[in-house]
């Protein structure tokens, strides 16, 4: 099905099942431990062996020699694979560094060997016996130090310009020009990267944990140098990804190589201390923001420059993305520069681009509002735009940012706020509130599905879409139930298998809308097949309550499959509506913090997000997405930082004791409001994304609240107590 004109009325609009806050259908198996994750597929192969990865001890250089004698002689060892015996390996287009290094070493903990043994413990013990001699090379590990050598990246638009930014900024009566920094972040998802590989002749089956099945199949085939059709990926349950599992990673490649070398199925999970440096991370940024405005608060010039680093051939963190679209202003510029750093590979993490960009931009807007003596919400509303500010003939499909602020301000009690900082005290706590805009584009991607109707009236959906904890199973079941007129318990959803039609996958907050639209398309085909089979007119057939009605005839749906299963398959393909219109999601984050007047410890007291993300397919799972994202935003604001040892070239705090994320005690109260809306430009579902919108702007709202509480403006994340301490009033 091609989607190239705005959606009109369709069966989804009934909202009998779609749009209802139903419990997630994968909840019971997950909470009872019966949903098997990749490393737990004990049923799938008999007698698997175990792989353990050896990571590089140096950040850059080459391997002079590897001695495997002791490791090979260790108990239980079946095979050891290194670059020397792995055969020629390719590299997928989405990987920057080789997933098995050697002789060249590109980053710390880059895999250099996998040891396969009868048990996990034997593999781990033997891995410690692999002796690698390295020759270190000098590397660049300091973004600030490399900033001046940063160049225009090869892809995307390194520079954008509209009007005369320099002239307008220089002439602006009120100016703001500050530099902000965000650190490297780790995804820190609960389930580590894990795979189990089994070869049958030249065909490989990989049980894995991957957000994007079709990309994974293609990149694994390319890496191993085998045809794509010889690779099958199975990933029905994923314990969180946040972008860390968008791409093929070491676990998949080394499980496959280890299985080939040992002649046994091989299970392999990356250990927690290995993940930060072996896999990908959200790259650190340095961002300069300039805003010029008239005294009454109209932005006349807005400029955003960003610097980030990556391995040679890597990509920048696109932190300027939202600044091109969020606020009005006739004169604009952005610039993106990329430095070569020899740290591990930077890549996508939840809301890549906007999450980092808004951390800076939304502090800058708060600072500018203060300079202008205008309420920060009023300042943002005043500079709202209903059209793409770079191309004013191009409207937003829908844009309800102002409503988000208005509703949020009312619910949060914004009007009671004291604009002057450091004035509210509650016992030992300095109390403040802050706000920030949320913005994230809502991309769409071709997504396919197959739908079956069997003789018991069960509708089965098959698609390689993934559920990374987001609720995909449930919203897909709701979509099929709504389309076919059956209750939810008559729908079976099967996901994450490359033998199913390729879907959009989970990433970039495109998954929910794109994949349900694909299921919609397949259901439209199935409805046609059902109508044909029952001799009904497909055009006016109504599917409801297990019946198909057309004219004065009403036939049980199950009858269509009485003699043979009906199967329909289709994909949604998106036309140019996303070109003629800007399709984005919006929101407003409100945060109240307390800062301990003595210790400067910062604790969030309450949070509210108001989100405008098109039709909400399931308010329960959507809320869960947003509160999770808000929590992650608190982490980014207050504690998350991969600490770079700039001499030794690695992320030092590479476990969850050292890399702190927000825990339950950090999050006392969260509230989420969704605007009641539907966007016909986005898809037949009229939905958009919210999984990433929820994190966008949160950290800045926290930082702005800290400023309101203390009068201390921190522009370098995370905002930790040591950055406030010397500016707080005396104790005692």
């Amino acid at each position: 099905m091609r989607f190239d004109t705005p959606a009109t009325a369709n069966p989804i609009d009934q909202l009998k099942i779609i749009g209802q806050p139903v419990d997630r259908i994968d909840g019971p198996p997950k909470t009872t431990g019966t949903a098997p994750y990749a490393y737990e597929r004990h049923d799938a192969v008999p007698n698997p062996a175990y792989g353990f990865v050896v990571g590089s001890a140096i950040p850059k250089g080459r391997i002079a020699s590897i001695n495997l004698d002791d490791a090979k002689a260790a108990p239980g060892v079946l095979a050891i694979v290194t670059a020397l015996n792995a055969g020629k390996l390719g590299k997928g287009p989405r990987n920057t560094a080789m997933l098995l290094g050697g002789p060249d070493i590109e980053h710390y903990h880059q895999a250099v060997a996998v040891v396969v043994a009868e048990t996990f413990e034997q593999a781990r013990a033997a891995a410690h016996l692999v002796q690698v001699r390295y020759v270190k090379a000098d590397g660049q590990y300091d973004l600030a130090g490399a900033k001046n050598s940063a160049a225009k990246p090869d892809h995307g638009k390194p520079d954008t310009a509209v009007g005369d930014f320099a002239g307008a900024f220089a002439a602006a009566p009120v100016q703001h020009d500050e530099t902000y920094t965000t650190p490297d972040h780790s995804h820190a998802m609960m389930e580590p990267h894990a795979s189990m590989a089994a070869w049958d002749g030249n065909k490989l089956t990989l049980w894995t944990s991957n957000q994007m099945i079709d990309w994974g199949v293609g990149d694994l085939a390319l890496t191993l140098g085998i045809p794509k059709e010889n690779v099958r990926l199975i990933s029905p349950y994923i314990g969180g990804g946040f972008g860390s599992k968008l791409f093929l990673r070491t676990d998949a490649v080394l499980a496959a190589l280890g299985a080939r070398a040992s002649g046994r199925p091989v299970k392999l999970a990356l250990t927690r201390p290995f993940i930060a440096n072996n896999t990908t991370h959200r790259p650190a940024t340095i961002q300069r923001i300039r805003i010029g405005a008239t005294p009454d608060g109209r932005i006349t010039a807005i400029g955003h420059e960003t610097w980030s680093g990556d391995l040679p051939g890597g990509r920048p963190e696109d932190a300027i993305q939202q600044t091109r679209l969020l606020y009005a202003g006739a004169n604009r510029m952005t610039a993106t520069r990329l430095a070569v750093l020899d740290l591990p590979e930077g890549n996508a993490m939840r809301a890549p681009g906007e999450a980092s960009g808004l951390m800076a931009l939304e502090i800058a807007m708060d600072e500018m509002a203060e300079k202008l003596r205008i309420d920060p919400i009023a300042f943002r509303v005043m500079n709202d735009t209903q059209v793409d500010p770079e191309e004013p003939q191009r409207p937003f499909s829908q844009r309800h940012l102002t409503e988000c602020f208005r509703i949020g301000a009312e619910r949060f009690g914004w009007d009671n706020r004291l604009r002057q900082p450091g004035r509210v005290r509650d016992g030992n706590w300095l109390v403040g509130t802050g706000v920030a805009a949320a913005f994230r584009n809502s991309p769409v991607i071709t997504s396919g599905a197959r739908v079956r109707l069997d003789g018991r009236g069960t509708v089965t959906v098959e698609t390689d879409m993934t559920d990374i904890g987001t609720g995909s199973y449930t919203i897909i079941a709701q979509t099929a139930a709504e389309m076919m007129g059956v209750p939810l318990d008559k729908v079976v959803v099967r996901l994450g298998d490359s033998s199913f039609p390729a879907s959009a996958g989970s990433g970039g907050q495109w998954g929910a809308n794109s994949s349900t639209a694909g299921v919609y398309a397949a259901c439209v085909k199935l409805r046609e097949a059902v109508a044909r089979k029952l001799g009904l007119n497909a055009a006016d057939a109504v599917f409801a309550d297990g019946q198909v009605r057309s004219g004065d005839r009403s036939v049980p749906l199950v009858q269509a499959a009485s003699d043979a299963e009906l199967v329909a398959e289709d994909a949604i393909e998106f036309g140019n509506l996303a070109t003629t219109h800007q399709i984005s999601t919006f929101g407003a984050h409100f945060v109240e913090v307390g800062v301990d007047a003595a210790t400067a410890e910062i604790r969030v007291r309450r949070m509210l997000a108001v989100c405008s993300g098109g039709r909400i397919l399931n308010p329960k799972s959507a809320r869960s997405q947003v509160i999770g994202a808000m929590t992650m935003g608190v982490g980014a604001a207050l504690m998350e930082e991969l600490a770079v040892d700039k001499r030794r070239g690695f992320f030092v705090n590479h476990d969850l004791a050292g890399y702190e994320v927000a825990v339950h005690a950090d999050i006392p109260h969260q509230d989420v409001i969704f605007l009641d809306e539907a966007d016909p430009m986005s898809s037949p579902m009229k939905a958009k994304g919210i999984g990433e919108l929820g994190i966008c702007g949160v950290a800045a709202a926290v930082a702005n609240a800290i400023y309101n509480a203390t009068g201390v403006r921190v522009r370098n994340y995370p905002v930790t107590l040591d950055k406030l301490l010397d500016r707080l009033p005396g104790v005692g």
Binding site: A598, A657, H664, L721
Partner: protein
């Protein structure tokens, strides 16, 4: 993890004999720290002697009005004990500020005293660390040091001791009771139990090889207001940036011990004489001679401010 042999001891004497018999043997109780370190091959004992079967899990009154806490009393049970909560609230509060419910259910009193540092370079076997591999150097010095020690450091090591419980024990003048392989028992005041790193940071206590902690004894209660303030970036389940354990009496006198600033729980009895004069005076003496790094210099004013807040709270 390297292969190891394992046995269960039935009495303290038997445990002490067993450990003397095997080169590279270690005791294991809760295992919440040792097993993690073994998995990372930071600790590589050849033999483990499981002491969980020893009957060292009682909390009993002592003849001088104090409490004797068996070495195997779990952190959860110790924190919840009514006598501890009433008379040694500092200890209960420090325990509850540490780890998680699950870990406290497993972790023992003796094991808590003997936890090893959380220095990230100690945890990464690719990096030099004098504590892990004597003589290899210290990667932390000049590196990422926000969590590290500010006082009592050496050119060989700037690691901190991570325990909260030990800070309370130090402020409460606990005594560590042990038995040695030759069956000799001894009582070690906690003030003498820990060592500064010097040039042998791998030796963290005065325990001799094979010496087994059997109990920790607390003297009779000292009264006063007991406060334990653990300062950290997140509200729970984090090691202290600094912590301040204090007992403040009505007349403004009292005692103070610090966590997160040194290779041991940090207390300077002489500094406590300054308590009636306020936090600034106490901190000046308590942290005299501190040598913080650029990244952790904030710990000095943080200690002073935290102590100031505690003293203000105790007064009110």
């Amino acid at each position: 993890m390297k292969s190891f042999t394992y046995e269960r001891a039935k009495s303290p004497a038997e445990a002490a004999t067993a450990v003397a018999r095997t080169q590279g043997a270690k005791f294991i109780a809760g295992g919440t720290n040792l097993l993690d370190l073994m998995k990372l091959q930071i600790e590589t004992p050849a033999h483990l002697i499981d002491v969980n079967g020893l009957a060292l899990d009682k909390i009993e009154p002592t003849s001088d009005g104090g409490l004797r806490i068996g070495a195997l009393v779990r952190n959860t049970d110790l924190a919840a004990d009514p006598r501890v909560r009433q008379d040694y609230a500092l200890l209960s509060r420090a325990l509850l500020a540490g780890a998680s419910g699950q870990l406290r259910n497993k972790a023992t009193t003796a094991g808590n005293l003997l936890q090893r540092t959380r220095c990230p370079y100690f945890y990464d076997t690719n990096q030099p660390c004098n504590k892990r591999q004597p003589g290899s150097g210290c990667a932390a010095i000049g590196g990422i040091t926000r969590q590290h020690a500010v006082i009592g450091t050496s050119d060989a090591c700037i690691a901190t001791h991570p325990s909260d419980m030990a800070v309370a024990m130090r402020a409460l003048d606990a005594t560590v009771e042990t038995v040695r392989p030759d069956a000799a028992a001894r009582r070690i005041p906690i003030a003498e139990f820990y060592r500064l790193p010097g040039d042998t940071p791998q030796i963290e206590t005065v325990l001799q090889p094979g010496e087994l902690i059997t109990a920790v004894a607390l003297p009779k209660p000292v009264g006063g207001t007991h406060v334990y303030h653990k300062v950290r970036d997140r509200a729970s389940y984090a090691f202290a940036l600094i912590s301040v354990g204090a007992v403040v009496q009505r007349d403004g006198t009292g005692r103070v011990a610090l966590g997160g600033v040194a290779h041991m729980p940090w207390r300077v009895e002489a500094a406590e004489a300054a308590m009636p004069r306020g936090a600034k005076a106490v901190t000046a003496q308590l942290l005299a001679g501190a040598k913080p790094t650029h990244e952790n210099a904030f710990k000095l004013p943080l200690v002073e401010r935290t102590l100031g807040a505690i003293m203000a709270q105790a007064r009110s």
